[in-house]
Chain length 338, copies 2
């Protein structure tokens, strides 16, 4: 049995999305058990099927606008997210899913579940939509504002395993996000990272990736410092949103547009769905001892279900075990090379 703890109170909608998502997940997957961490008086009325679902009761919840994540994690041990992570730390569950405040989840994963010894940094890693619909990974998008060159390699190794196990790509291509495609472009850190990535035997490095190709090329793991990755991710989201808004506005601007819409409504819906991140699951917190999945704050129950599905898969495929193996190989390589 795969045991998954869910921060039932997190996110913009709390129990109204997490409880239905949990029921959907246990119905779909016979190999999982779920612990809903949250207020039983709020959960119980919604929990119409308790098969393989238990409740770990708490009434506290971290605020979505939490400004001091370290303090929040340390001083709110009864908060649903924090409690869920302690279940992970104590091996009572195999994975944790939350749509609560991102920075709290990252810091909490770090402080409570703990970093894998051979990872020096933890990364936030979403599956981002791609033109071909198969998805790709971008990491880090917000756990570290700056990185040292060697950290890019850790992220590349972790991303390669996830791209293989979760997205299903053999020998996935790895790229370094940069302002130019040729070697030698970018900042000093990018150049040093490039050299390390190029020499690694653990990954299939294919050089720099410019941000205008992120959605369309066949690179499956894009490594980045958290500041830059966050820029790329949020710019993509913002542009997609602005364009959708413009398209709507232009279509509504004339009778022809409105009539045309009646004919191509389904087409436009498929179009909207192609860039919809709720289809692909949540962002993974990579580098800690258990899978921790961050579902979007405004996840509906289907998006949250997808995050649970992803957590299950991370456990089932033993992504963390494989990551540890590869990192050990690498640290072995390094000591030999020295």
């Amino acid at each position: 049995m795969i045991k998954i703890a869910i921060d039932a109170m997190g996110g913009d909608f709390g129990v109204t999305t997490t409880v239905p998502a949990a029921m959907e997940a246990v119905k779909r997957f016979k190999d999982i058990e779920i612990v809903l961490v949250g207020d039983e008086t709020k959960i119980n009325p919604l929990l119409t099927n308790k098969e393989r679902i238990t409740i770990s009761h708490t009434t506290e919840v971290l605020d979505m606008g939490e400004h001091d994540p370290v303090k929040a994690i340390r001083s709110n041990k009864e908060a649903s997210m924090v409690k869920a992570m302690y279940l992970g730390r104590n091996k009572e569950v195999d994975a944790v899913v939350s749509s609560g405040p991102t920075q709290c989840l990252i810091i909490g994963a770090h402080l409570i579940i703990r970093r894998i010894k051979l990872m020096q940094r933890v990364a936030l890693c979403p599956i981002i939509p791609s033109f071909d619909g198969k998805g790709k990974l971008l990491l880090d998008v917000g756990a570290n504002v700056e990185l040292k060159p060697e950290h890019y390699h850790e992220f590349a190794v972790a991303g390669s395993i996830i791209a293989h196990e979760i997205l299903g790509f053999d020998n996935p291509k790895v790229g370094l996000i940069n302002i130019g495609s040729e070697k030698g472009k970018g900042r000093e850190v990018d150049n040093l990272a490039y050299d390390i990535l190029e020499q690694s035997k653990l990954i299939n490095f294919c050089g720099n990736v410019e941000p205008n190709e992120v959605l369309t090329n066949d690179v499956r793991v894009i490594v980045s410092d958290g500041f830059t990755g966050n820029m790329v991710l949020k710019t993509t989201e913002g542009t997609a949103k602005a364009m959708a808004k413009m398209l709507k506005q232009e279509i509504k601007a004339s009778m022809g547009g409105k009539i045309g819409y009646l004919f191509m409504r389904k087409n436009l819906k498929r179009f909207a769905k192609r860039l919809d991140s709720s289809e692909v699951g949540g962002a993974m917190i990579v580098g800690v001892e258990s899978p921790v999945i961050k579902a979007h704050g405004n996840s509906d129950s289907h998006a949250f279900y997808n995050a649970i599905r992803q957590a299950r898969e991370m456990v089932l495929k033993d992504v963390i075990g494989k990551l540890k193996e590869d990192l050990a190989k690498n640290s072995g390589d390094t000591s030999e090379a020295n």
Copy 2:
């Protein structure tokens, strides 16, 4: 008379776009004279109207894929772009327009036209499309991979003047691109830059801007290091392109879509135009002694005409004179503060 030198050979299409653009510009603006720098045997057949247009002959041209811009500028004094910039340096023209290789133009502007004394850095500053159609400035997008905190302020001052004089905004809002909206977010350099921007009396600073709001908010000057700005710009371009491609694909995927298209063709064209940068002109190289405009490498003659129009306006409004005045005020302020 406003004199503008045009690198007639630059860009993907050379004389076939620059010469018609020059003729369109002199026809439209009676106060400009143009010097076409390039091969007269190629220019002359296209130059059907020589009114206020002269040719400065040269057959050489910088390669669009030039890898060593400094060497290229120093060793190719006869190249059309370089020659155009010497005209600027010697005050034979008031502004320079080129669609040649960007890094060469930046370095050339720096080395030949020279930096304004009180600017420590030069920035590449495009006018980016915005949801309201009024445009905004993002600088730097590629002249500096890294900046010191005080450089952000120089760019904010320059951007504010351009947003006022060229885009027509009174007291334009200035924002610092960052991964979060609250003060204290981002890297150390962002925080130090924030403090300087916040204290400045020369600009209307409104805090951090997250990249997902760049296209839709009312901030008109967004300051950034060149690495980050390049990420935002290229991600926006890439997302817009990928989405347009997806939309086309979905529309073509069914008969309903194709019929719908017939009704809303005009609407979709207006939609496409709203994110089209060729309407707004070129990117400015900010911080040198003359206006230098970088038209997109694949500019058609209309886009190139818009870059010439923009060069004229930069001269007409004495943007550089005003920038020098403001920088002098600031250096006065600083010495008083010390």
